[in-house]
């Protein structure tokens, strides 16, 4: 069966080629069939392959397929190879599955776009690269996908490139990502120089072997450096502090793109990469410490910004940054499977939220400002209910998916084995951010779907529910937002059920992370907490979620006309700071972009044009010309002058030979 892995990326690629090359000639129906069909088939292939894998005994659940030897120089052997193991299996199912749903949704959403073919071509290309990223059996192949999804993201953000602002957003995304890729590249180099391989199946056993034989100490500087460099790559792709600035702007792209690329799949690549590299990270506690703090900060700060945005998609964008922070908290407190678990449930509920936002945007004729909405629930019941489901999921209300995954991340943070104190701080920040999350999500729900409609008459008439091709995907995703978490029910909840439940998700991923668990267990004693603690942790996060929702209810349902203004007035300074997103974009612009631009201009105008060319090159020419000009005076063609010089010469010679 492993011989068929290549089909998963190949099918979207074929779709991309057909739509890209012939899309203008084959008609919309054909484009849709090819675009959606190729992804559907890829999803089917993934399901079959994963099913095949699940049927195998746990120890054998890993197969690789080598397509060809890609780069072979000296001791560097890089194959174009794919690998399917439980981790990539989860990812590939989520990615191809969600992609398929969003491809179908796009049919209705993009129906009237003149570049329909281009849209599907790019979307297929994205899935192609994303599957390569996931399936790659070494870091270089992952890097191909890594850069490739960045390219697809660039093209899709700038899809309506006629507007300069939109084209700018695409470019910003690509360049900020490149900054991250710089770290990723250096991380790869350091891995290769240190361990001599970039292939997962060679590298990880080797690292493990070296650690077990005392050749590689815990927390060695080189390991910390590798992990932090790779993490820099992840902050770019997964929009974390300090490189998250591109993601809010990326909302300029079509909404299904935001759902697919900038919420559900691509931005989670960094989390996947860290989980994939889990052995290295486990051996670098200091790197984990840095990451845990940074991702907690990201989760919190992004959530606060989300509170004051009025553009629905921007709220969701900051929410994505914040939720990605949770995923990184998960992987950086050694709870790799919890991070991936939250990745999966987030893919469901955030994709659903974005697609609902797309539906609202469609109904509002492109307007995304919540201040113009209100009371949409009556006219768009399906969108309302699905969005409510997803919002409950993100707010961590049981039994929705987000409850289980977020709770697991926070619980594991509380029990961070390497740095118990820091773990508790991270847990607390995460908890606070969870409350804010619930608040801004229900602020969005209340402002959009409840109360009175605040838009124009004309808009009010236009508001309508979407066709089935769009609501269908919403319902699928809403359903998944509800049940998606049930595969990871924590053991402590066993007493609630009449039958025995296990954490299926964690068990399934265990083969990938077991070595890390062993390393941890051998290095520190894992603190044990009673079930009372676990229950109270759970209760606190639910309480915080409900508290956030209640607060939103008080402000936006009970006193929508007075309280928001009053609060803004009372906390004027905070309000301004947060409303302007802490001025991060402005700071980057003035501290990085502008000085760099001036320095470059200086290099060109002063060093190149003035110093090298002016003083150096043309300066020499000038001296030669001046010098020759002076010498020319000697040869002016007058006999008298020559005679005078002869006389002068004679005098000099006579004086010289006078002895």
């Amino acid at each position: 069966m492993e011989g068929y892995i290549f089909l998963i990326p190949l099918l979207p690629f074929i779709g991309f080629l057909i739509n890209g090359l012939f899309g203008q000639k084959i008609g919309k129906w054909m484009i849709t069939y090819i675009g959606c069909g190729s992804i559907g088939l890829a999803f089917l292939t993934s399901v079959l392959l994963v099913y095949h894998m699940v049927c195998l005994p746990v120890g054998e659940r890993q197969f690789t397929q080598v397509l060809w030897h890609w780069i072979t120089v000296g001791n560097l052997h890089i194959d174009l190879a794919f690998m399917l193991d439980p981790l990539s299996a989860v990812m590939i199912l989520v990615v191809t599955g969600v992609s398929f749903v969003i491809h179908i949704y796009s049919k209705g959403y993009m129906a009237h776009d003149e570049s329909y073919w281009r849209y599907y071509a790019y979307l297929n290309m994205f899935v192609f690269f994303m599957t390569i990223l996931i399936l790659g059996a070494n870091y270089i192949v992952m890097f191909v996908g890594w850069e490739g999804v960045g390219l697809a993201s660039y093209l899709l953000i700038g899809f309506w490139y006629k507007e300069n602002l939109i084209a700018d957003a695409g470019k910003k995304a690509f360049i900020v990502n490149r900054v991250g890729d710089f770290g990723f590249l250096l991380g790869m180099f350091l891995i290769f120089v240190t361990f001599g391989s970039l292939s997962y199946t060679e590298l990880f056993p080797k690292v493990l072997h070296m650690y077990e034989h005392g050749l590689l100490p815990m927390n060695s500087p080189v390991m910390i450096a590798i992990c932090l460099l790779l993490f820099l790559g992840a902050t770019g792709k997964s929009a974390q502090i300090p490189l998250y600035v591109w993601l809010p702007d990326a909302m300029a792209g079509p909404t299904p793109v935001s759902a697919l690329i900038h919420a559900a799949t691509m931005v989670t690549a960094g989390v996947y990469m860290v989980a994939r590299t889990n052995i290295l990270y486990t051996l670098a506690p200091t790197a984990l410490l840095v990451m845990a703090l940074m991702s907690a900060a990201t989760a919190f700060i992004a959530a606060t910004v989300g509170v004051l945005q009025y553009d629905i998609k921007r709220v969701l964008a900051y929410s994505t940054v914040s939720q990605l922070g949770y995923m990184f908290i998960g992987v950086s407190v050694l709870a790799y499977s919890a991070g991936i678990f939250h990745l999966m449930s987030h893919a469901f509920f955030k994709a659903c939220l974005f697609l609902c936002a797309g539906a609202v945007m469609h109904a509002m004729r492109g307007d995304l400002d919540m201040r113009d909405m209100g009371g949409l629930a009556k006219k768009m019941p399906i969108t309302y209910v699905t969005m409510l489901f997803a919002s409950l999921a993100i707010s961590g209300i049981p039994p929705f998916a987000g409850f289980f995954s977020k709770d697991e991340v926070l619980g594991k943070a509380f029990m961070f084995p390497y740095y118990p104190v820091v773990g508790k701080i991270v847990w607390f920040i995460g908890l606070a951010a969870a409350g804010i999350t619930a608040f801004y999500m229900f602020r969005l729900i209340f402002m959009t779907f409840h109360g009175e409609f605040r838009g124009t008459e004309e808009e009010a008439k236009h508001v309508h529910e979407m066709p089935f091709s769009m609501t269908g995907p919403l319902m699928v995703l809403a359903f998944l937002s509800l049940v998606g978490g049930w595969v990871g029910i924590p053991e402590v909840m066993n007493s609630l059920f009449p039958f025995h439940v296990t954490n299926l998700f964690e068990n399934f991923l265990d083969p990938v992370f077991e070595h890390s668990h062993e390393i941890v267990a051998g290095f520190v004693t894992i603190p044990h907490y009673s079930s009372t603690v676990e229950w109270s942790l759970m209760a606190s996060s639910v309480a915080v979620g409900i508290g956030g929702i209640y607060l939103a209810y008080i402000i936006y349902i009970r006193h929508p006309d007075t309280l928001p203004q009053k609060l803004a007035h009372t906390f004027a300074l905070h309000y301004k700071l947060i409303y302007n997103k802490y001025y991060i974009d402005e700071i980057y612009y003035h501290v990085v972009v502008l000085p760099f631009y001036f320095l470059s201009t200086f290099c060109w105008k002063v060093i190149d044009a003035f110093l090298i060319d002016g003083v150096g090159v043309n300066g020499q020419a000038w001296w030669v010309r001046r010098g020759s000009g002076a010498l020319r005076l000697i040869q002016n063609g007058y006999v008298q002058t020559y005679g005078a010089f002869m006389l002068l010469g004679l005098v000099v010679m006579l004086w010289f030979f006078r002895f």
Binding site: V144, Y161, L185, L186, F189, M210, L215, F596, V617
Partner: protein
């Protein structure tokens, strides 16, 4: 060995020149005949050069297809040709680019067609000759021969400031070359004093023992000649002028092939002839290469003129080549060679693309364009793919070259590699910013509203380049396989007494003493 293949490849273009000389160019049809003759000649040369592929044995470290005849025996000067894993690809690059370039001149060059095509073919002979010569004087003859056609191409068919640019180009190159000539003679003299044999044969001269001072001196002179050609910072300012003023075909050949003469010269002559001198200057050259990489990218960013932008990007890309050569690890050197080929393909294609726009609008200024993607979608697509190649996007050729160079450099010099890697960011900045300003947005300039997309002839010279962009990107082993032995040989020649790299020392230490690999690092 039976047929003197290299001689054929080198001098076949001159046969075409001979034919063209008999065709009058007064009528339009005459001009077309001349163009066709030039094109056919260059295609034949390319086809003949493909024979090399079958004759070349990748398992041989030394030179192949060798032809050796006495030329001026009394001075030990011979007609001595041969290729190794580097010149093999550079010759193919030359014979591949020349027909494409000639095809691009169909409409662009309409006055003095005959002279132009003759010069192109003479230039091809000179370039191939320089790549295959293994006799220093023979090389020097071809080296200088290259200068004249290019000087005329810029000076006669160039833009407004063509005279300034042509003279600058000529003087810059000539100064370096003359110094090199003096040192060639010096080297031959010392070799004769040592062995009693008067010869210009490169292979015999390789082993010459020079005093440290002369090694340094001679290397400096050679390096200067080649550094100008590369061009390395701060000898690069002739390049933007030459590129902007040169006609499209001139820019393509200049960037695609002539610049490689510089890096080739380092690889073939300067470094193996004077390993000690090379080692002496190595820190300086690595520093200049890194400066060139970053500086070229920064200056490219603020250029208002597309052609100048591409020219400065060449400074950056060639900096990579120099860095790779000087890292002296197999990864880096093979990456450098691949990067030479890549640059020929990608930058050649960029100049061709800029030329297409120039033919339609007679300007290179970025601000004159905008929104072109809507008017010329095919053109925009190809331009974008080449842009990707230029910024080193994986699956394109640019990635493989940059990756290998940076990886190889990182093994021995982390600081240089880290600085050089920033250019991956800068490359995306200047290329994408330019692309955005030229292709995205609304069509604001009314002159751009009715531009025609690419025609068949333009596609015919762009698509082959695109094929190579992805061929090298997806299956680089096809190209790297031919280099392994030559590169190993080169490294062993140049790295006579180089100290082990820190990581190698650690590795060795660990394997001998079975002590923890990171003890030393961890204790710091």
């Amino acid at each position: 060995m039976n047929a003197p293949l290299l001689t054929y490849i080198t001098f076949l273009p001159l046969l075409g020149v001979l034919l063209i000389l008999f065709v009058p160019q007064r009528s339009e049809s005459g001009k077309d005949v001349i163009r066709s003759l030039a094109l056919v000649t260059s295609i034949v040369v390319f086809l003949v050069s493909l024979r090399m592929y079958f004759a070349f044995d990748s398992n041989v470290a030394g030179f192949q297809l060798v032809e050796k005849h006495p030329w001026i025996p009394s001075y030990g000067i011979g007609y001595f040709m041969g290729i190794d894993g580097l010149s093999f690809w550079l010759v193919l690059l030359t014979t591949f680019l020349t027909p494409l370039t000639i095809l691009s001149t169909w409409n662009a060059i309409s006055n003095r067609v005959k002279e132009f095509q003759v010069l192109m073919l003479v230039l091809e002979t000179a370039m191939i000759g320089a790549f295959v010569s293994l006799d220093l004087l023979l090389f020097y003859v071809f080296w200088e021969l290259m200068l004249i056609p290019m000087y005329l191409i810029i000076g006669v068919w160039g833009g407004k400031q063509r005279i300034y640019a042509a003279i600058k180009f000529f003087l810059y190159t000539a100064v370096g070359s003359l110094l090199m000539l003096v040192c060639i003679v010096g080297l031959v003299y010392f070799h004769q004093r040592e062995t009693g044999v008067l010869t210009f044969n490169l292979l015999e001269l390789y082993g010459t023992h020079l005093s440290r001072m002369y090694e340094i001196l001679f290397f400096a002179a050679f390096a200067l000649a080649f550094a100008v050609k590369v061009p390395m910072f701060p000898f690069h300012t002739w390049l933007p002028d030459a590129h902007v003023q040169a006609p499209t075909a001139g820019s393509v050949i200049l960037a695609g092939v002539l610049l490689k003469m510089g890096t080739y010269g380092f690889f073939r002559f300067a470094m193996p002839l004077f390993p000690e001198g090379s080692a002496f200057f190595s820190p300086l050259i690595i520093t200049l290469a890194v400066i060139g990489i970053i500086y070229g990218a920064m200056v490219a960013m603020v250029q208002p003129d597309v052609k100048k932008l591409v020219a400065y990007s060449s400074v950056s890309h060639l900096g990579y080549c120099m860095l790779g050569l000087y890292a002296l690890t197999p990864h880096a050197v093979e990456g450098a060679i691949l990067q030479m080929i890549n640059h020929g393909i990608s930058t050649g294609a960029l100049f061709l693309l800029v030329g297409v726009a120039y033919e339609k609008r007679h300007t290179h200024l970025i601000k004159e364009f905008g929104g072109i993607a809507r008017v010329m979608p095919v053109y925009a697509t190809i331009f974008f793919l080449i842009t990707l190649s230029s910024i080193g996007f994986p699956t394109t050729n640019g990635f493989i070259g940059e990756f290998l160079i940076l990886l190889g450099t990182f093994e021995v010099n982390k600081v240089a590699a880290i600085f050089a890697a920033t250019a991956a960011i800068l490359g995306a900045v200047y290329m994408l910013w330019m692309f955005e300003r030229v292709f995205f947005g609304e069509v604001t300039n009314p002159k751009n509203k009715k531009l025609h997309d690419l025609n068949a002839r333009e596609l015919a010279y762009l698509l082959p380049l695109l094929v190579f962009v992805f061929w090298i990107g997806l299956y680089p082993n096809f190209f790297l396989n031919k280099m392994h032995r030559s590169v190993d040989h080169f490294i062993s020649q140049v790295k006579v007494s180089a100290p082990l790299s820190p990581s190698a020392v650690m590795e060795r230490h660990a394997s001998i003493h079975k002590t923890p690999l990171y003890m030393s690092v961890a204790e710091e």
